[in-house]
């Protein structure tokens, strides 16, 4: 019996996607009808999806944390023979089991931007929907139906002539469908710049002591990147300035000061930027910070972190790259946080020490803060405290 692919149904009256929270089965595992397959989170609820068939899990099509569009494959199951009759797709609702071609048209996600530019268009609602799905602009068509009405055939004819499809990719333009992490980043960044009035300050710190501490650690078998030192310094500075670890509550015009310091770590992955969260960092020693942050980064890159390890941050650290010519940048706050700290690469640079220009290790730090919560004076004090922390590191 051929494999059956279960596509994500519309779980809640008009949803377009769901985020995979966790699988409850693995590839090669056996399932019965109604065995829980996975948990997904939609815009409305977290729900458990039970298996529509009995069989063996052939392939899981998404990883935890990923977004799956309605109608996209979720899991492929090799059914046991006994379910053959059952697996025959009947009439389907919401793109459930079976092949979507079997009666209900899938939403065409590739060409969503076709518009009805004229209200004079005469066409039945289903014809308008069809035109939208096929990317046909009804205003460009002449209807062949009664009274100039545009019919289904008109739309289909127009869709098959390449000139009429819109939006056409012309002159080297390429359209990329945005789903999943890219879409989440887009929303989050738009929310940041459109709701948070933020400003940025810059500083350079002397990393001589930090590098010495690293060398010493390396000699005693504890190899460490600069990141744990950065996180530890940020946590210490935050404890001196608790407002940096807060959120603005728009519904009540209040500032919520957070007790635990949950440090989001911006990680560049093949899927895009992810921000796993190091929880309760104020309670961790440097080595624990090093260990846990390394696990988080590895998990983010492998795509194995559950969503709850990528949310709940109270402040974020990022970097502009440990090598290369870029020194610093203006980071954007990760809402609803108040502050983001960006570190540059540590490298030898000319510094003035006791009146002499000497080459010393150093790096840029930039912070962006929510001006509703923090004024420039406080930001300066915080950044100064952070630099002092970093420069006074001892092995």
């Amino acid at each position: 019996m051929a494999d059956q692919t279960f596509r994500l149904p519309d779980l809640g009256e008009g949803l377009t996607e769901a985020q995979l929270v966790a699988w409850r089965v693995e590839e090669g595992g056996r399932v019965d009808v109604n065995t829980p397959l996975c948990e997904v989170e939609t815009a409305k609820a977290v729900v458990v999806i039970p298996s529509p068939w009995a069989g063996t899990i052939h392939k899981l099509h998404a990883r935890p944390g990923e977004s799956v569009a309605v109608g996209e494959p979720l899991v492929t199951i090799t059914p046991v023979e006994a379910t053959q009759a059952e697996a025959t797709p009947g009439t389907l609702v919401g793109y459930g089991p079976g092949a979507p071609e079997s009666g209900i048209r899938r939403k065409a996600r590739s060409a969503p931007a076709a518009t009805e530019s004229s209200s004079d268009v005469r066409a039945a609602p289903f014809v308008r929907q069809l035109a939208k799905d096929m990317g046909v602009d009804l205003a460009q068509l002449t209807g062949s139906g009664p009274g100039g009405r545009i019919t289904r055939a008109d739309v289909e004819a127009a869709a098959s002539s390449p000139a009429a499809t819109a939006p056409a990719a012309t002159d080297g333009e390429r359209r990329i469908s945005v789903v999943g992490i890219r879409k989440a980043i887009a929303r989050q960044m738009l929310r940041s710049v459109s709701t948070i009035p933020q400003f940025t300050e810059f500083a350079v710190f002397d990393a001589t002591n930090l590098m010495a501490a690293r060398e010493e650690g390396k000699a005693s078998g504890r190899s460490m990147t600069p990141l744990p030192y950065f996180i530890a310094a940020v946590v210490k500075a935050v404890r001196a300035f608790p407002l940096m670890n807060s959120s603005w509550d728009e519904s009540r015009d209040e500032i919520i000061v957070k007790q635990p310091v949950n440090v989001g770590i911006a990680v560049n992955t093949s899927q895009g930027l992810l921000v796993p969260v190091l929880r309760d960092a104020e309670q961790l020693q440097l080595t624990a910070i090093a260990e846990k942050s390394a696990q988080l980064i590895e998990g983010a890159r492998a795509g194995t972190l559950p969503p709850n390890q990528m949310s709940g941050g109270t402040i974020t650290v990022t970097n502009v790259g440990a090598s290369g010519p870029v020194e610093t940048g203006t980071p954007i706050i990760n809402p609803p946080e108040c502050c983001v700290v960006a570190f540059g690469a540590i490298k030898p640079r000319p510094m003035v020490v006791q009146g002499e220009v000497v080459a010393r290790s150093g790096a840029w730090i930039s912070i962006s803060v929510d001006h509703r919560i923090v004024d420039g004076a406080l930001a300066t004090e915080f950044l100064t405290a952070l630099v002092t922390e970093l420069e006074s590191i001892s092995a």
């Binding site: 149904p9 039970p50 919401g94």
Partner: protein
């Protein structure tokens, strides 16, 4: 000149056969239980039906999660009301339900797979109300209550001995339709039993935000009695509906039963109740589960044993699988029929042309 509210309350209370059956807290008394007139087989049947409708409810939710149904509203935790009320009625009595009374329709004999076609987009009204004396599910809140009262008046005018059960939730009692229906029923002594399934929540609105008073006590304002009972006791619901229906049948007019229960599931498959209610509330009600509680009583009375319990569970499982198989094998009706088929008994020419045009436009899809 005019009676005061106190007079009304006194007169109404004197005319209330249910008071003798229930404690002030709404529990069926020993006296009430002794008057049930149910033998061991009938008592087992109540249990069996509660298990059957719960399993069907779970299967419907599974089907929704698998994309086979567009929507599902669970009645998990409310089985005692469904089964108790339906068992108390005669099969000729009419039911005007809201949208969560799938279990009631099942007990009336409607095929559950047929019923689910409504949630699968295959049908607008899957059963013949005249055959089952069971009106279509009412999705808008409280619209069925005036329908029930009007129908009950019709029964009286026809000198039939049918009575009408009008079921609704706590949220419906805030609707104007509900008040109009209650008032009309009181004035004209309609043979109707109002059964409020007070499950504590109207989607995310708790009872405390729904009403500042008591739902049952409102009945006296309309000139007929009302009572609040334990809605998780199938025998209590049975006794209350039986007594209220008998009273209505004898021409004594309407009665309002407020059966207190809890919606253990979400409002519908689109809802996430963890966003507005607490785990501890759920646990407290889980301890009052109508099926577990009734089973414990039956075991204690020596009416049911483990083997019967297991056999009933197996039967419920097979019934759920049969429901799934039958539903998923059903063909879709022609779209023209669904949209145009039941509009006119004698369709005008223009309407037929429109249907033809619509159907030809779908050809090849």
């Amino acid at each position: 000149m005019f009676p005061t509210m106190a007079d009304v309350v006194r007169v109404v209370a004197a005319d209330d056969p249910l008071r003798a059956l229930f404690s002030p807290a709404g529990e069926l008394t020993a006296e009430g239980r002794s008057r049930l007139g149910l033998d061991a087989a009938a008592l087992r049947e109540l249990y069996r039906n509660m298990v059957l409708i719960r399993r069907a409810d779970q299967e419907a939710l599974n089907l929704q999660r698998q994309g086979e149904l567009g929507l599902w509203g669970q009645y998990l935790g409310q089985e005692a009301i469904h089964v108790g009320a339906m068992t108390a009625l005669r099969t000729t009595d009419w039911v005007f339900p809201s949208y969560r009374e799938f279990g009631m329709a099942m007990i009336r004999g409607v095929d559950p797979a047929d019923m689910l076609t409504m949630f699968r987009g295959l049908s607008h009204g899957p059963w013949d109300p005249r055959k089952y004396h069971f009106a279509p599910l009412a999705i808008p809140v409280a619209t069925q209550v005036p329908h029930a009262v009007g129908f009950a008046l019709g029964c009286r005018l026809k000198h039939s001995d049918e009575v009408v059960l009008s079921t609704f939730g706590d949220g419906a009692t805030s609707e104007g339709d509900w008040h109009e229906a209650m008032n009309f029923a009181g004035v004209f002594k309609a043979p109707v039993v109002f059964l409020c399934q007070n499950n504590g929540w109207a989607i995310s609105v708790p009872l405390s935000k729904q009403t500042a008073g008591s739902i049952a006590d409102r009945a006296s304002g309309y000139g007929f009695p009302g009572i609040r009972i334990d809605g998780n006791d199938v025998l209590g619901v049975y006794a209350a509906v039986m007594a209220a229906a008998d009273r209505a049948r004898q021409g004594e007019g309407p009665y309002l039963i407020e059966a207190v229960t809890y919606r253990m599931g979400a409002h519908t498959s689109s809802d996430d109740p963890t966003r507005y209610r607490t785990e501890s509330e759920l646990e407290a009600w889980n301890a009052k589960d109508p099926i577990a509680r009734y089973r414990a009583w039956l075991e204690q009375q020596g009416i049911i044993d483990e083997r019967t319990v297991a056999a009933i569970a197996d039967a419920a499982e097979s019934a759920a699988q049969a429901m799934r198989a039958r539903l998923t094998a059903m063909p879709a009706p022609p779209p023209g029929e669904a949209i145009f088929g039941r509009v006119y008994s004698n369709p005008p020419e223009s309407f037929l042309r429109e249907r033809e045009e619509f159907e030809s436009s779908l050809e090849g899809s």
